[in-house]
Each structure stands twice: as C-alpha cells, then as structure tokens.
C-alpha cells in the first residue's frame, strides 16, 4: 500500500463496518427486487417480526445468543492470526459432549448437571479445535484446511453415532432420548414468571446471560490479560513474539482451545436451552455466520454483540418475512451473511480506502 491509511479510530471501528453493512443491505435489496418482490415491505416485515412483538424479540435474542458464541470463537482465533472456520464442527462435537454428560449422569441434581453439561460442551468443542491447532502449530498444516476437514469429519461422525449408537431403539429419528429435565436451562419467560413478571414465551433462555458473560471474559482475556497480549502479539507478528519470549506454537494451541470451547456455547443454547436432546444438524450453518459476525464486529466483544443482534434480527425477522412474502425464504439471510462477509472482510480495503480518501481531502481543505 502506497501510503498508510490514516483513519481516526472511530472511522475505522464504526464507520467502515457500518458502510459495509449498508452496502450489503443495498445489494440484498437488489436481490429482492430481482426476484420481483418489494424490498421496502420486506424490510418492514423483517423489523416487525423481529422487534415488533415481545415473542419476536425473544426469538431474536435467542438467535443472538448463538451468534455471540460463534462470533467470539472466530474472534479469539482471529486475534492469534488464525482462521477458525471449524465452528460448525466444534459446536457439533460440543453437542455430543453435552449428550454424553447429561444422559450418563441422569442421577445428579440440576445445579450440578447444568454446569457439567456446559463443561462437557466446552471440553468437546475445545478438543475438536485443539487438534487442528496442534497440527498448525507443530506440523505446519494449514488451519483453514484442517478445520474444514474437521467440520466434515464431525458431521460424518455425528450421523454415525446418532444412527447407530446413540439413537433410542424405538425411535425412528436419528436423535438421542431427551436430556434429564433437571438439566434444562430455564427459559427466560419461566425465570421472569418466578418473579411474578409475565413476558411472552419464546425459546430464549438463560444461556443469553452466559453469552454476555463470555463476551466480558473474552474482552478481559484479549485486552486486559497477559495471555491475551501474547495472543495478539502472535497474531500480528509471530517473529516478534519469539523475540519477546512467547512461544507461538503454545499460544496457537491455547487460542484454538478457547475458540473451540466458545463455539461449544452454540450447542449449550440450542440443545440444553431449547431442543433438550441431541439431534442432527442443530448447528444449521451458524458456525459460518460467526465469521460474518466476527468480521463485522471487528473481533471486539462489543462489536460482536451488536453484530449478533443484527443477525438475530435477520434470522427471526427472516422467518416472519418468509411467512408473509413466501418468495423470500430464509436463505435470504445466508445471502446477506455472504455479502457482509464479502464487504466487511474481503473487500474491506475498498471502503477503507474510500473513507481514508475523504478524510485526507478534508484535512487538505482545512490547511
């Protein structure tokens, strides 16, 4: 690049991502126009369906919980200079961990079962991420390729286990028996009801609190801890890290372990919070949405929460929209996700340069 791009911090962290999101929505609007539908009424249904009713808002926050976890997972690895696109596989394995813990320890009371289930999710997700991390650190195999392969391995493994091993003998569906009731993470409407406050019922459960706590933990880790500093040094300059006495190999494995454990949160929300059993394809491609979330949120927990809210709105609103305007299926959200990844990730320089150009002109004008 000829000249370093001199951007004020707010422009870099807020303006550029905002422009890419607006651009993504414009393109998405063109797609809606292209299939002969009205983008304006689509937007109205989208917002009404996701924020307009208490129930809709609950679902929006439920999806947001999923995206916070996968977004944080991508972000932690990203700070270490790693591209973890294995969120799908890690969350799938985390689901297996939950099922193994909960359905084998049915005799335990809920206050032990729930933390143990969450730990099971984190441990299995972490283990599934640790192997690609180790292979990258010690054997030099590219983490992108290995995490892709591990996604497919996970999906093949879970099909095998659910069809042949874990399925209930009487059941035709490839899913485990229901988890013990004590292990269900309480729904938010039940929690509020216990305090005498009535809110509309939805899938939203207490995992949202866990997601927000995880965001705070990641912020502490990345920006306020020695380990986080080491992670960022390895991410921005591995050679400098070696000179500073940091072992990049060790940091890479640790970052992947944390990343995989965070991806496991998706399984906690979906399985312990809502489905209450392990079933096929519960990750529904959210692992890839995590990439969009992390890129849009600039790998910062606050940005990730905001980006997750946006995607929560899209997913919930998209479901309502598909009901009102059947031509616009929920796949529209995948399209928007793809465009956001393209604009906020790969074409980032385009908007950055444009904004930088504007700022330099302004500065020159003032002189």
């Amino acid at each position: 690049m000829s000249a370093p791009l001199d951007l004020p911090k707010w422009a870099d962290t807020v303006l550029v991502p905002a422009i890419s999101v607006v651009a993504a929505f414009l393109v998405a609007g063109l797609v809606v126009l292209g299939i002969g539908e009205n983008p304006l009424s689509a937007t109205r249904y989208l917002i009404q369906g996701s924020l307009g009713t208490g129930e809709g808002l609950g679902f929006t926050l439920f999806y947001m919980t999923d995206f916070i976890f996968v977004g944080l997972a991508v972000a932690v690895a990203y700070h270490a200079g790693l591209f973890n696109i294995g969120g799908e596989g890690q969350a799938t394995l985390a689901g297996l961990g939950i099922a193994l813990v909960l359905n084998n320890l049915t005799f335990l009371p809920g206050f032990l079962l729930i933390p143990l289930g969450i730990l099971g999710a984190a441990a299995f997700g972490a283990a599934w991420a640790a192997v690609p991390g180790y292979l990258q650190a010690k054997r030099g195999s590219h983490i992108v390729i290995t995490t892709i392969m591990f996604n497919w391995l996970a999906s093949v493994l879970i099909v095998y286990l659910l069809v042949n091993v874990l399925r209930e003998p009487q059941s035709m569906n490839p899913e485990t028996r229901a988890f013990p009731e004590a292990a269900n993470i309480p729904f938010m409407h039940d929690v509020f009801a216990a305090f005498g406050i009535e809110i509309p019922a939805s899938q939203l459960n207490l995992t949202l609190v866990l997601a927000l706590a995880a965001s705070y933990f990641v912020w502490l880790l990345i920006y306020r801890s020695r380990l986080g500093y080491a992670i960022r040094v390895v991410g921005s300059n591995p050679t400098a890290a070696v000179y500073a006495g940091i072992s990049p190999a060790r940091i890479i494995v640790i970052a992947m372990v944390i990343s995989g454990a965070l991806a496991g949160g998706l399984a906690v929300n979906e399985l312990m919070g809502y489905q209450h059993r392990l079933l096929l394809e519960f990750t529904s491609g959210y692992g890839f949405v995590g990439i969009a979330v992390a890129l849009m949120g600039r790998a910062h927990p606050v940005g990730i929460i905001l980006a997750s809210l946006l995607f929560g709105i899209l997913y919930q609103g998209g479901a309502e929209l598909a009901f009102e305007q059947p031509a616009i299926t929920r796949d529209m959200v995948v399209v928007i996700g793809g465009i956001i990844i393209l604009f906020a990730g790969a074409l980032d320089g385009l908007f950055r340069r444009a904004v930088a150009h504007l700022f330099t002109r302004q500065k020159l004008a003032r002189v």
């Binding site: 992108v144 299926t329 796949d331 399209v335 928007i336 996700g337 790969a346 074409l347």
Partner: protein, 301 residues
C-alpha cells in the same frame, strides 16, 4: 464379487469423480497462480443452478453449459477482484462465495420455480446424453482437461509464468510480466472448470438442480488437490480414488462383508477428509502448497 459388479463399481466411480476432478483442476489453476480458492463448492453450485435453469429455459444442454460456465466465471471474478485487485483475504472471500452461492441458488430457485429450490426436471435435449461407453460428452471434456492442464502448466511459456507467479510473484513482475493479468487468467480458467463440473452435476449426472446439490464435493476436491500436491496427473488419481470410495460406500450400504461384518458407510465417507488431515500433518509424505498461495501481491515494497 463378480466381474460385472466390479465394472459397475468402476463405472459409478468414474461418474462420481468427474465433478471432483473438474473442481480439483479449477483449484489447481487458481492456487498454482497464488490465489487460494476455498470457493470451489460455491462456484460449482451456482454453475449447477444456472446450467439447469438455462437448459430448461432454452431446451438445450449446451446453452446450459454456457450459462453454467458464465455464472461460475462471474463468481470467480468476484473472488479475483477481492483477492487480486483489492488484496483482500482470500479465505474470507472464499467463504463469502460459498455462502452467496448457497443462499442465492436456493432463493432464486424457489422464486422462479416454487418447487422448494428445485428446477423442473430436464429431459431429452435439455440433458447431456450418453455419447460413448454410457458416459456423456462432459465426462470426456473433463478427462481431457487433465493432460491439457499438465501440458499447458508444465510445457508452455504461459504455464511457466503462471507457476512462477504462484511461487515468486516479485520475480515475475521484475521480468515485466503482469502478475495481476496472470492471476486473473488463472481465476477465469478455474471458473470455467468449476462451471463444467457444476453443469455436469445438474445437466449430466442428474436431471435438474436440487437444493445444495454439491453437498461438499468442492471441499473433497480441495482435499484431492492437496492429496495430489497441486499436480494434474496425481489430481486425476486422487479424484478417481475419492470417487471410488464414494462408489464403494454406496455399494456397501447394508451389506455384510464376510469376516468383517457390516462396514458403516460413514467410515468410508470420512476417509478422504481423514487422509487429507494425515497427509497435511506430514505423517506420510508432505504436501507443500505453492509458496505465494494466499498472499496478495503488493507491487511496491
């Protein structure tokens, strides 16, 4: 097993390996020039959709092929623009391509045909019929691409330059050859090949487009590419091997083998991924990608 069975298995292995081979060679061209391409899956998917839609609309498989190639090249150029001109992250761009393709084909397919993302069934001239030995023309086109790739990359001046751009772009630039031009050429060739592969899926092998019909073939092709260490003839071998595994997995479904018992299909399905991970880990042999793959070229530095 009888001879007839064996022939049937190899026949279906060939069928199954053709889309892998097309995508694998596409990845080979792209990555040999220094542009990492994990968007093979997405490009095949848009090609499959565009081909089926055009073949249905115009009643000709060949027009379908042109549309398939066109759609795939457009997506290739988006990837090229992001990773070559804008020097963006090639992995991110590839992920975006895959998501865009999955979403767009589903939504447009649903809006046009209202059949849950399918295109109407193709018949007669809308499909590629069998030409020789029960295989369609596309099979031979893809097979022919192997020696062609080998020859052009290994034996021509253009191929030498293209490989050089994937190893040491600065040297190529110093010699007065356009790095950008070569990489765009490679990306377009990759787009054409993915287009043929996708068209084969929907207009050759099947009779129409199904939602997400590539089902991970682009990623197996990526595995095959690593397995073949980014070379054309080994790519043929790797794709036929993976196609054979697939064919055997289909064949063995629910069959008990003497002495072993029933082999779970998933165990065979997992093999390509597992083998790639093991190979990349350097336990058996070593797969070294082109040196400049994934690194955007910055002229002044």
């Amino acid at each position: 097993m009888e001879l007839g069975n064996l022939v049937a298995i190899f026949d279906s292995a060939l069928r199954l390996s053709i889309p892998l081979l097309a995508a694998c060679l596409a990845g080979l061209w792209s990555e040999r020039s220094g542009v990492v391409d994990i968007g093979l899956e997405g490009k095949m998917l848009v090609a499959a959709f565009a081909a089926a839609a055009a073949a249905y609309a115009f009643g000709s498989a060949w027009i379908g092929l042109i549309a398939g190639i066109g759609a795939s090249v457009v997506f290739g150029l988006i990837h090229g623009f992001a990773s070559i001109s804008q020097r963006g992250n090639q992995i991110v761009s590839g992920v975006a391509i895959n998501m865009l393709a999955a979403g767009l084909t589903a939504i447009v397919g649903n809006a046009w045909y209202s059949q849950g993302g399918r295109t109407p069934p193709l018949e007669g001239a809308q499909r590629f019929g069998d030409v020789i030995f029960g295989h369609s023309a596309l099979v031979y086109v893809v097979l022919l691409a192997v020696p062609l790739t080998w020859f052009v990359l290994g034996r021509t001046r253009f191929g030498l330059r293209l490989r050089a751009v994937g190893e040491n772009p600065a040297a190529v630039d110093t010699a007065g050859i356009s790095v950008t031009g070569l990489r765009y050429t490679a990306v377009v060739i990759g787009g054409v090949l993915c287009g043929i592969g996708g068209t084969y899926l929907s207009v050759g092998q099947s009779a129409g487009f199904l939602n997400n019909m590539t089902a991970g073939k682009g990623f197996i092709a990526l595995a095959a590419l690593i397995f073949a260490k980014w070379r054309a003839w080994p790519a043929l071998g790797a794709c036929i091997l993976f196609g054979l595994l697939d064919a055997i997995a289909i064949r063995l479904q629910g069959i008990s083998l003497p002495g072993i018992g029933e082999v779970p299909v998933q165990a065979i399905q997992a093999l390509p991924y597992l083998m790639t991970v093991i190979l990349l880990a350097g336990v058996i042999g070593k797969a070294i990608p082109p040196r400049a793959a994934g690194v955007p070229y910055v002229k002044e530095r």
